[in-house]
């Protein structure tokens, strides 16, 4: 796929992407604050810094399209339209969550919103997405499946097997790699010789493109093209979105393995204020509109947190329900 210079997305899309990015950031800030201050107990993998790709993907997919993501997936879920209450309730283990609080942060699903699976097993979502894309193809549905994963996931056998089958079957699949330069605490250079992950698609004879994943306009243009290629029956695309995570791998990770200058440099290019300035200078939004979007994001997150904090935990008696299809045979 050729990267051609394209005009920016329509104003309504750009505004929507900024709304999504501010909501993602507010959610990440609030989960981080709540956990580190002891307000609530949860396992959480921050996405702060990686919002632009998720917002672009969310804006480019249709509601009927499907998404598979990972443990670091709250930004992707928000982009796809999963309600905040569902997300926070699952993370905090509350009974009102779609998985009754048993899915936890790593296994959030919301089929109504099209999010079919999140997984804590690195790379494992990609073959599942291949299955979903095969189903769409067999049903002759016009839906597309997108799957997001990290740089590290592209070193797993699952990625390569899935990429191969997606190519062989010419599936309506978009593989979205969020390359944040680290797999947990290991810099990418210690785990692969490949200079561009996008090039891995060449081995399977489908297009691979690298984009600045911190630029929502650029990511949107490429992701939309890949999605429409998939919808038109032209097969899979790998989109490598370059980004960085500003917080630890999980809460409590002190990030000693990230050079201070590298983090400072990434924070100086924070995609959210950068995009804000662009929307302002290009006349897409006024200062008042941007401030109102930001205030709305904070209020929406605060209201959702309140609902979830006030909601009950599942009862101890319900612990084994919805876990095994046949609870009588469950191991004790």
């Amino acid at each position: 796929m050729e990267m051609r210079p394209s005009s920016p997305p329509p104003a309504a899309v750009r505004r929507r992407m900024y709304e999504l990015m501010t909501l993602m950031k507010a959610a990440d800030d609030r989960m981080t604050k709540g956990i580190t201050t002891g307000e609530f107990i949860a396992v959480y993998f921050p996405h702060r810094g990686q919002e632009a790709t998720a917002a672009a993907l969310g804006a480019a997919l249709r509601p009927t399209d499907q998404l598979v993501t990972t443990y670091r997936g709250v930004h992707d879920h928000i982009g796809k339209g999963v309600p905040l209450v569902d997300l926070f309730a699952e993370i905090l283990g509350k009974d009102i969550a779609p998985g009754r609080g048993k899915a936890g942060t790593m296994h959030i699903a919301s089929p109504q919103a099209g999010v079919m699976l999140s997984t804590g097993i690195v790379g494992a979502g990609i073959p599942v997405a291949v299955g979903l894309a095969l189903a769409a193809q067999l049903e002759k549905a016009d839906r597309v499946v997108a799957v997001t994963f990290g740089d590290g996931a592209t070193n797993t056998g699952a990625f390569h097997e899935a990429a191969n089958m997606a190519a062989v079957w010419n599936l309506p699949l978009v593989l979205v790699c969020q390359n944040n330069l680290y797999g947990e605490k290991t810099p990418i250079g210690m785990t692969m010789k490949t200079k561009q992950i996008a090039d891995r698609a060449r081995a399977y004879e489908f297009p691979g493109v690298r984009v600045n994943g911190n630029d929502p306009d650029e990511a949107y243009a490429t992701l939309s093209e890949a999605i429409e290629r998939a919808r038109a029956g032209e097969g899979p695309t790998l989109v490598e979105c370059m980004t960085f995570r500003f917080r630890g791998h999980s809460i409590g990770d002190d990030m000693v393995y990230i050079p201070k200058e590298q983090l400072a440099d990434a924070e100086a290019k924070d995609p959210i204020p950068t995009y804000r300035a662009r929307l302002l200078s290009s006349g897409v939004c006024t200062e008042e509109e941007l401030s109102s979007i930001e205030a709305t994001a904070l209020n929406t997150v605060e209201e959702a947190v309140k609902t979830v904090v006030d909601a009950p935990l599942p009862s101890p008696e319900s612990l084994m329900a919805h876990v095994y299809a046949n609870p009588d045979k469950a191991p004790v």
Binding site: G34, G38, I41, A42, V43, S250, I251, G252, D253
Partner: protein, 80 residues
């Protein structure tokens, strides 16, 4: 409303308990949300815990003791 509990945080994935090392804001003192409130130790790592709310601090648990994560160790009178 009014009384915001202060709890031992689960500051990293694998911890289940923490030792309350000391208070940064003394009994009856005022704190602002986000400011340092108390210190804990987990697996030889010391962490300064920020305040979850703004108000007047009242402590209810002894220092130098070890508590499970989630244990309430005080309360913030938020005055609303």
């Amino acid at each position: 409303m009014g009384a915001f509990p202060i709890r031992i945080p689960k500051v990293s994935l694998a911890i289940h308990e923490a030792t309350l090392l000391g208070h940064i804001v003394e009994e009856g003192g005022k704190v602002n949300e986000g400011d340092p409130l108390f210190r804990i130790e987990t697996e030889k790592v010391e962490t300064e815990v920020a305040s979850p709310a703004s108000g007047v601090v009242h402590w209810t648990a002894a220092v130098d003791e070890t508590y499970p994560v989630g244990t309430q160790i005080g309360v913030i009178d938020t005055g609303d």
